[in-house]
């Protein structure tokens, strides 16, 4: 899905937990996330901290979209 969207020329960032899968399928901008059942959260944190964590990850994704890349890049 990532590739089919990117093939139309739209930059796309893949936020996912299992980075090797993302690399194998061919995402070019990858932001690693927290865990499979809660990629953009962490139920161990209190709601405020959890939202802050999510905010940071999304900012990282937006940054990735602003970053020119020539090959598969993981934004840690």
């Amino acid at each position: 899905m990532v590739k089919a969207i990117e093939a139309t020329g739209l930059p796309i960032v893949h936020m996912c937990t299992i980075v090797p899968i993302s690399k194998t399928v061919g995402a070019n901008r990858i932001v690693p996330t927290v865990a499979i059942p809660y990629p953009l959260g962490n139920p161990e944190l209190d709601p405020k901290e959890e939202k802050e964590l999510r905010r940071k990850l999304v900012r990282k994704a937006l940054k990735a979209l602003e970053t020119p890349v020539t090959e598969q890049t993981v934004f840690d």
Partner: protein, 345 residues
């Protein structure tokens, strides 16, 4: 050595009956070869005879599968064959599906091998690959002269009783085999060969994935129109489109207009491949709608595409995923979206 007996299944077109206008013809059998069978006959002359040809219209077969199957199977059986050839059906969809269905019938009822020829994207291959040795052929009958020898080569190996047959597209089946050396030793030998730059044969080839060039970066994200997509199954509460928990056949498109924050009341996951407790509690953990809405309000992003798109990436076929992606991208383009965030679980 007595020659083996082969039955050939073809459609109305290759039998010379007619094209689409004759696609409704019912099954019939003719002794000996018809159409492309002539070429097989020439190449198999030493080892086998094509004793009969069974013909059926593609539309008839697909629209009356139960009756057609029964009749075609009886016709094939009447020749008491050792092997059945179906096609080649190139990239003809209905012919491929019919040929694949015949392969399955023969495999499951007569327990004899089937050799076919299909273009890899023929839907008949994906559906019925398990039931025969399908040789990769071109996408149109113009490639017949390549298809016949390639298929003949596989037919000969099968009739010879070879255990390692080459030249067909993988059936997608795993077979238990016993090897002399244990797995760890074989793996180390492979690794050593690989490190030394020597040749080695993998026992588990990885699927090949095509690549797409990275799209240009967004110049200024604070002016960009962003869209949210997910394969983690985030759907409105109740999963209104009934997206399957695995092997999804569809994706959903849902309005973001009235959702600023997911709660247990307005969102859940349709995904069956992970523990849904955390996502159902707060779906923002899968699709970050709360922070995106906040970023929209405070100008961190320019604007937001008014819908999110969701499917379940759990055993979903690559072909489906690709189709979803293409369809979603078209809608995003139309709305002037500049960049996409896709989340996966």
């Amino acid at each position: 050595m007595t020659k083996k007996r082969i039955v050939h299944y073809i459609n109305q077109f290759f039998a010379g009956i007619g094209g689409e206008e004759k696609a409704e013809v019912k099954p019939e059998k003719r002794d000996g070869v018809v159409g492309p069978g002539m070429a097989f006959k020439g190449q198999l002359a030493d080892v086998a005879d094509i004793v009969g040809t069974v013909i059926c219209g593609d539309s008839y077969f697909n629209e009356n599968e139960a009756e057609a199957s029964e009749t075609v199977l009886e016709m094939i059986k009447s020749y008491d064959p050792d092997l059945v050839i179906v096609g080649p059906s190139f990239n003809a969809g209905r012919y491929g599906v019919a040929a694949g269905a015949v392969a399955k019938l023969v495999d499951q009822n007569l327990h004899i091998p089937v050799v076919g020829g299909m273009y890899p994207e023929n839907p008949g291959f994906e559906l019925y690959r398990k039931f025969g040795y399908f040789v990769e052929v071109g996408n149109s009958a113009a490639t017949m002269r390549h298809a016949i020898p390639d298929m003949t080569a596989v037919v000969k190996q099968v009739l010879d009783g070879k255990t390692e047959i080459t030249g067909y597209m993988p059936k997608g089946l795993r077979v238990n085999v016993f090897r002399q050396e244990r797995g760890s030793k074989r793996a180390i030998e492979m690794l050593v060969n690989k490190i030394q730059g020597k040749e080695f044969t993998t026992e588990y080839p990885m699927p090949t994935f095509d690549r797409v060039d990275p799209a240009p970066a967004v110049k200024d994200i604070t002016k960009a129109r962003i869209a949210l997509v997910s394969s983690g199954g985030p759907v409105p509460k109740g999963n209104p489109d009934h997206i399957e928990s695995s092997s999804a056949s569809k994706y959903g498109k849902y309005s973001l207009e009235n959702i600023d924050d997911f709660t247990p009341e307005n969102g859940e996951t349709a995904h069956g491949g992970y523990d849904p407790v955390y996502a159902n509690e707060d779906l923002d953990r899968v699709l970050p709608v709360d922070v995106i809405k906040e970023m929209l309000a405070n100008g961190e992003i320019g604007s937001l595409h008014p819908y999110w798109y969701a499917t379940v990436g759990n055993g979903t076929s690559v072909a489906n995923a690709k189709k979803f992606g293409t369809e979603i991208a078209a809608q995003l383009k139309e709305d002037g979206v500049d960049a996409v965030i896709l989340t996966s679980t």
